[in-house]
């Protein structure tokens, strides 16, 4: 089974984002490394705007992710509401 991942800097901006990703993707594994967090998940991983907004208490534009994004893998599909990473095989 192929794994996708997203890696984010560890800071106050990303804390609620990571929390939301973990809540929305129960199959994901969080891997904490110096100054960064790498989230691995089998096959697919979804980042949901509404979950981040609920934790953040303000409007959030998913493109704000770019500021603290370190790396990712998988095919990407982004809309206003969701960013999905996935492998087809």
């Amino acid at each position: 089974m192929s794994t996708v991942f997203i890696a984010l800097q560890t800071n106050e901006d990303t804390r609620p984002i990571i929390e939301a990703i973990v809540a929305d993707n129960p199959h994901a594994r969080v891997n904490e490394q110096p100054a960064m967090v790498k989230i691995d998940a089998e096959r697919t991983l979804t980042v949901r705007r509404s979950s981040i907004e609920a934790l953040l208490g303000r409007d959030f534009d998913l493109q704000e992710l770019h500021i603290n994004l370190i790396s990712l893998s998988g095919n990407i599909d982004e809309t206003d509401d969701e960013l999905t990473l996935s492998w087809n095989a």
Binding site: S73, I76, E78, D80
Partner: protein, 517 residues
Amino acid sequence: MDMQATKKKLGLKERYQVMTRGLDWEPSYQKKEDIYPYVAYEGIKIHDWDKWEDPFRLTMDAYWKYQAEKERKLYAIIDAYAQNNGHLNVTDARYLNTVKLFLTGVSPLEYMAHRGFAHAGRQFPGAGPRVACLMQSLDEIRHAQTQIHALSNYNKHYNGLHDFRHMHDRVWYLSVPKSFFDDAVTAGPFEFMVAIGFSFEYVLTNLLFVPFVSGAAYNGDMSTMTFGFSAQSDEARHMTLGLEVIKFILEQDPDNLPIVQRWIDKWTWRGYRVLTLVAMMMDYMLPKRTMSWKEAWEVYFEENGGALFKDLARYGITMPKCAETIALEKDHLSHQAWGTFYNYGAAAAFHTWVPEKEELDWLASKYPDSFDKHYRPRLEYWREQAAKGNRFYNKTLPMLCQTCQIPMLFTEPGDPTKICYREVDYKDNKYHFCSDHCKEIFEHEPEKYIQSWLPVHQIYQGNCFPEGTDPTAEGFDPLAAVLQYYHLEFGRDNLDFEGSEDQKNFDAWRGMATKNA
């Protein structure tokens, strides 16, 4: 961060459509082939440029907004780090040598990437890839600038950083990264995109930026961590562009497959060879280590790259053949590279050393199948010799591989006791190679690679001495003349870390930082 999320009138997909395709136009008074002269000669067939899709759907207005935010964060940290003498908080002064290698070897590549993407973007008839290349071109010049700014603070205190741009074009080991990028930017626009956008960015840069930058953070170098992660936040977009390029080209025409596969095979190997320097940085040059080169390779290439190539199998793409050779080298690469730099420590613009005992133990635990058997005894012997006053410096010049320009230091796949040599006769000359893969790359494009500027050949031809040098003069010292040509000061920028000015200064300054002098 206090960022406002503004309510948009259009959805992301519509906005992207309007702000990229919507701004393009059909030329009417110039022929398309005159406007885009390089788009056909590589043999890649594109039928519909509008099929291109940027998965992030980033438009220029959003690009400026987020990049500006990244810069504000970055410079605030760099200033604070410099004002607070943050350089004294790194684990120990040996760490600084990774920064020297980075500035002289990697930062100039960022600038070349800027030029490469500006060129490739200019040559593509489709508005989607043009916009994506424009953004990446701007990102890359930002990376070059932020790295130079961040590392200039170290130049105020430590040696070997004073003339990185001059060194990049001349110093023997820097010809490895330099020639890699020169090779890519002199290819056609599609090959450049596969080389840098896909093979380097998608398959390999995670190895450079993620574990190494995380390692910088672990060693207290907030400055490198900051520019590294700031750069890496752009890399996620670059990787996406790289993957999109491959999918787009392959979906356009079945004839494109063999061309693309050849490029992937070539550039995965070319990029991997350049990463030899990173392998050595991770295993030997970070005083506190996060993961070994081998572990990083397994996570970022074997696991992630494996998933990637499985996904691309639907287009007929297969894992590059060189992956088998690389798997055999992963237990040896960093050790062979560091051994070579230790040998040539008199001609390098950074310091080398034998790792301390617990570091040797760490290496043994990470490389149980190779380290104690092949590499530890050699390092211990060198340490003994150095303690007796016989620190070994190799004064001869090594044979270089015609393709990757690395000294012939690699061993036969599967036999770490025998150096791997390959050769090819072409026209009236004999050319040498470190591996079957470098040899095959040469054989496919010999007229390109016979032009390589090989530092060792250039030294022997007398092209690497300061102007006015007379090599026939009594007592001529070729090494001294070459170092002058490099702008490298003997006894200060080179030789062993033990006894270096960097070591003494760091100890003295750190002492001053923790007590009243």
